[in-house]
Symmetry: C2
Subunit: 437 residues, 2 copies
Amino acid sequence: MADALKIGVAGLGTVGASLVRIISERHENLATACGRAITVTAVSARDRTKDRGIDVTSATWYDDPAAMAREGDIDVLVELIGGASGAAKDAVNAALERGIHVVTANKALLAEDGVALAALAEEKGVLLNFEAAVAGGIPVIKAVRESLTGNTMTRVYGIMNGTCNYILTRMEKEGLSFEDCLKEAQRLGYAEADPSFDINGNDTAHKLAILTSLAFGCEISCDDIYLEGISNITQDDIRAAAELGYRIKLLGVAQRTGGGIEQRVHPTMVPHDTVIAQVDGVTNAVAIESDILGDLLMVGPGAGGDATASAVLGDIADIAKSRPGAQTVPALGRPAKSLEPYKRARMRSHEGGYFIRMRVADRIGVIAAIARRMADNQISLESIVQHSANGERDAPTKTIIMVTHATTELSIRNAVKAMESDGYIVGKPQVIRIEKP
Amino acid sequence: MADALKIGVAGLGTVGASLVRIISERHENLATACGRAITVTAVSARDRTKDRGIDVTSATWYDDPAAMAREGDIDVLVELIGGASGAAKDAVNAALERGIHVVTANKALLAEDGVALAALAEEKGVLLNFEAAVAGGIPVIKAVRESLTGNTMTRVYGIMNGTCNYILTRMEKEGLSFEDCLKEAQRLGYAEADPSFDINGNDTAHKLAILTSLAFGCEISCDDIYLEGISNITQDDIRAAAELGYRIKLLGVAQRTGGGIEQRVHPTMVPHDTVIAQVDGVTNAVAIESDILGDLLMVGPGAGGDATASAVLGDIADIAKSRPGAQTVPALGRPAKSLEPYKRARMRSHEGGYFIRMRVADRIGVIAAIARRMADNQISLESIVQHSANGERDAPTKTIIMVTHATTELSIRNAVKAMESDGYIVGKPQVIRIEKP
């Protein structure tokens, strides 16, 4: 049997502690599967005295992860610190510069610096693996990077944030408000004390940016993602969606269009009888549409210490199974310098169906006025219903819900603007995009 | 760039022709992704004169695929002939003996001889890749063999035969009989002229046997699979399932139990609101339950020339990306000689819920008699309904539908036997197992 693969783990939070425990508990199984042992020879974390329920006494301790990356007796740096800059970035760069493999779960770092890191890994002839960075335990990176080689991808989309999906699922099943479900998610540890990064869609955007690059062979561009969070989704939206045969999910979507690549994260109506609509709670799902294979959907745990550690372990095992210097798989699926520049498709050119819900003054001619504004903008309606909510029957306003056939974002924006200027709309109209598999 | 990887394609049916066409059309993309070109240098098929819509004039033609494997100027044999014996087996063995890599879509060959072939591949230091053999284009082999390394799997199950799923979906959506849906499937090319291999579950069994070995680290045992096909599923079953909140799918299931490994293929009730229940038509789905990652589900095309060719191409690309002699991934996830002997769990010990539908004589005391027989066998009922089908109201028989809580196969068999001996059952009771995620 070959020499043991020596691992340095930077960051001993939930995922890091899971990983160290699993490698220790399954030492023999891993050695059988990989043809060599996997040993944690070095660790680094902030607080050396903290009890994490794992034994790291046989590993060398480093206060500074970059020092471990530079000097540690390791073949692989496993970076589980997180964050786009600081210690994580320094450690990963130091490891690659030294010419050792890197496994990371750090979506922020990859979304910001993935292309440069991939280029450095290639230059040094080492692997940069990051299965855990996108959709946690779901092996979507491997699927896109390896299984789908030769395919031209047309669209990738998915539920990539468990916190948001948990909240939307609870809102639907229990009829609770967004605020109440968020509190529940925080109580259960599914949401952070400051949940804005999840709720506003930034976390999904990081994952989408990485996936977009792999799927379309372009440079990573996280800043070009259209972003809308879930905090303004109400029970009225959820109920109207259900009546129309839809469920609301926060999706990240990347799509090839004539004008470039569209990347967007927003609450989305998905048809109720599709597989992705049935993905509930903290579970994630990623769909990949490609021209040879067709449609592939992967569903699984998107977060959690063990699930994430499983993905990290898969990445480590891939390195253990390859002989030193033997791998030529580029980190982003093709050599970093052959990645195409990212060409952003303008959001106003987005094409699709739309759901529009608005309160309007209850007076004669309003429906006709609405219909005229839609027609003016060449928008064809699939349905329009006047909706009487509880207690609203005698109010001076009524609710109008419309679903459009495929149109453009610009047409919708123009139509809504025109209706607002007409003066019959009360409050702000709710506009939710529809995504069909 | 490294030298081109030279491919010999044995079998130019739908999949083989797709593969040759795709490799030719995407030559540049593949070279960029793999770091070297992929070239078809030899082909073999039965009829040299047949027009397949592809140009193979630059490849050397072999009438005998084994001769191509032995003597061809190739680095990889791609075996797309099919069948557990004869030309396919001879060619694969010849290639491995010679020490060249093999990519195959041949589930029958692997189900019969997979362990011996894996051992031979390891001995010769070459790869034996077979992603296309299980669930067509879905990268389930890669997920189990690579991504889930270190996990202990507890259950794998799935919809692995598109023909059966198409028929069951049509029966449900259109209210047609099994026979009519089968004819429709044959007309559309989803079913063979002789469909028995699909309909009886044998095709699913081959795929399950391979998956079981990979998931549980045991030898392949296709002969030990409990088998029940879909031909006796009726509209009455489908309707009763729908009423009770279930859909009927032909599943292959492999599961670790105290008594060994359970492998079974049979029509199964799955709860309506699960993701797998929404998988319709010819689409396949495979679920993998493991102890670190949790539950992973993959959904995609299980058959078709292009989808299968995509999986074959992914396998070829993995070889192209590795340097010669560099790979040590064993074909079945661990060295063939470290696979555990297959220990079969007896079907009578299977535990789960059951659906039972039977016609009984319409006389006083029958329900009480049924309930007593169930109680005698320690079977607890979730529901029991007396069902009056159309036109049955005045008949001297009525239909009883029961759903049980978890019990054993033996208890169910004994209870049904006892009820049959009681003399009130008309015809043969229908018993369908329930599977819950």
